[in-house]
Every structure is written in structure tokens, then in C-alpha cells.
């Protein structure tokens, strides 16, 4: 801590994900500091996937609350949404299956 204060004359504010970059590559930390964050197309797609996954993960918490019996409305909404999602997935699956009869019938 004393060493830290010696090197820094002002307050240090850092985000957890920025700090986590130290575990990936120190050179990347320095490059991003100098030139800003640059992402390849694949990294951008991965970031979007991550955001979607986190939104879903956040929505799922309602199931956790419902499991604890704290919220009946939350419980109902959670399972209604699950049912709806499963139903649409089933319909999509059946529709795909019906649209490709030639692949089922074989040559």
C-alpha cells in the first residue's frame, strides 16, 4: 500500500473487469490504455453473446425468488415465460422438421 501511494499522487479508480485484464495479458492492458479498446469482429460477437447471456441470467433470478416463495406474481410470470419459450421452441422445431421432407425421405 505504501508503495502504491508512493507511485500515485491521486486516487485510483479501477473497474473489476479492467483489473481482470491483468490476468489476461499485461501488454493488452497497456495497449488499451494507450489506444483505446479495439475489438476484432469475433470479439465483438462474443461480447454481444455475453450481454445477451447476462440479460437472460438476470431474468432467471425471478425463478430464484419464486423458488424461495417470496413472490407469487414473480413465480407465475417466470413459469409462464418458460412455458411460452418452450412452446415456441417446440413449434419452431416441428416447423423446421415439416419444411424439410426431402431430407427425411432420403435419396
Amino acid at each position: 500500500m505504501a508503495e502504491l501511494k508512493k507511485h500515485m499522487h491521486q486516487k485510483v479508480t479501477v473497474g473489476a473487469s479492467e483489473l481482470a485484464q491483468m490476468g489476461v495479458c499485461e501488454r493488452l492492458v497497456v495497449f488499451e490504455h494507450r489506444y483505446g479498446r479495439q475489438r476484432t469482429a469475433e470479439q465483438q460477437r462474443a461480447a454481444m453473446r455475453g450481454l445477451r447471456a447476462h440479460k437472460r441470467f438476470y431474468r432467471e433470478r425471478q425463478g430464484d425468488s419464486a423458488r424461495q416463495g417470496r413472490c407469487f406474481v414473480g413465480h407465475f410470470r417466470y413459469w409462464a415465460r418458460k412455458l411460452q419459450r418452450a412452446w415456441y421452441r417446440l413449434i419452431r422445431y416441428v416447423a423446421r422438421w415439416l419444411q424439410a421432407p426431402e431430407s427425411r425421405d432420403g435419396p
Binding site: M1, E3, L4, K5, H7, M8, K11, V12, T13, V14, G15, A16, S17, L19, A20, Q21, M22, G23, V24, C25, E26, R27, L28, V29, V30, F31, E32, H33, Y35, Q38, R39, T40, E42, Q43, A46, R49, G50, A53, H54, R56, F57, Y58, E60, R61, G63, D64, S65, R67, Q68, K82, R85, A86, R89, L90, Y93, V94
Partner: protein
């Protein structure tokens, strides 16, 4: 047995099998055994520690275990089913920020929940978190790196360089 009966039975069987495969699993099944039946206390909430080093961290989830301590859970989307050092650092930073802001006890271990890009959860990894003093040392090293006072080390995983946007100016030794 008539043809209609056979068709109906066949249809019901197909629907049941499809339903079984497509029905989303309840979230509790995806949690580690330690956290099943525990209470979710925080979800997607931002915390900040104060002092000479201020760490801001968004906690994906925090559960209260049987001993009253909070256990952190972080979701990661990746093709490989494993936890990395960066996950440990991120969770350790979350722990420090949460403890500082809320004054609550946070367990020195946490879980990384991995999910494949297609949305399938692949499992949980229990990780041991860093001590706050080690985290502060890491912050200090980062500040020195940004100030140009120490030489930054390349990653120890050459595979990372293939995906990195800075691979040309960086020119790592194994390239």
C-alpha cells in the same frame, strides 16, 4: 389397434420426447450444491469501494450461504469449460467492493458458471479468491504499467494472441 390410435400414440411420444429435450432446466439445477436452497441477495448490482484505491464492480449474483456469508457467482460465456485467472481477479475485486460498500461478510471462494455460446450451461467452477492485499498489489502493478514504470509481460497463453486486435504492434515472442 387402429391406425389412428397408433398415430396419436406416436405423436404424443414425439411431443413428450421433444418437450423433454427442449424444456429449459430450472435455474436451481445449474447452481453448485452448496448454493441450492440458499437465498439470492444481489443480482446485477454495482458496488464501489472507497479509499485511495476505489474499485467498482458489478456483481452478477450473490447468495447468502448457511453461515450467513455471501457467495459470489459470475456467469461467463465461453467454448471451454474452465475458469481463468482473470475470473479470479474479477471476482476478488467484486468481493472487495461489496465488502467495502455493504460491510457484509463475503466468502473467500466463489463460483464461475460457464455457458457455451449456444446458451447451454456447462457447469460451475469453484475458485479461491485473492486476498485484498494481493488485489491492491495488482492495482499498484497496473498503475505502474500504465505510467510506463515497468515492462508489461506478454500473456502466457499464446492462443490469446490469435484473437487479439493488438497482435501486430505487440509482436509477441512466439509470433
Amino acid at each position: 389397434m387402429g391406425l389412428e390410435t397408433v398415430a396419436v400414440v406416436w405423436f404424443v411420444a414425439v411431443v413428450v420426447v421433444l418437450w423433454w429435450h427442449l424444456w429449459p432446466r430450472p435455474p436451481e439445477d445449474e447452481l453448485p450444491p452448496e448454493l441450492r436452497g440458499t437465498r439470492l441477495v444481489y443480482a446485477e448490482r454495482l458496488f464501489r469501494s472507497f479509499g485511495p484505491i476505489s474499485i467498482t464492480a458489478k456483481v452478477d449474483r450473490a447468495y447468502r450461504d448457511a453461515k450467513g456469508a455471501l457467495v459470489l457467482v459470475e456467469l461467463k460465456t465461453r467454448t471451454v469449460h474452465r475458469a481463468y485467472r482473470s475470473d479470479v481477479i474479477e471476482l476478488s475485486a467484486q468481493r472487495v467492493a461489496l465488502m467495502a460498500q455493504m460491510g457484509e461478510s463475503v466468502a473467500d471462494h466463489a463460483y464461475v458458471l460457464t455457458e457455451r455460446p449456444d446458451g447451454l450451461r456447462t457447469g460451475c467452477h469453484r475458485v479461491r479468491l485473492m486476498e485484498p492485499v494481493d488485489l491492491n498489489a495488482l492495482v499498484a502493478r497496473r498503475e505502474k504499467l500504465l505510467a510506463g514504470k515497468v515492462e508489461p509481460q506478454p500473456t502466457c497463453a499464446p492462443g490469446m494472441c490469435q484473437k487479439c486486435a493488438f497482435v501486430r504492434p505487440c509482436d509477441p515472442p512466439w509470433r
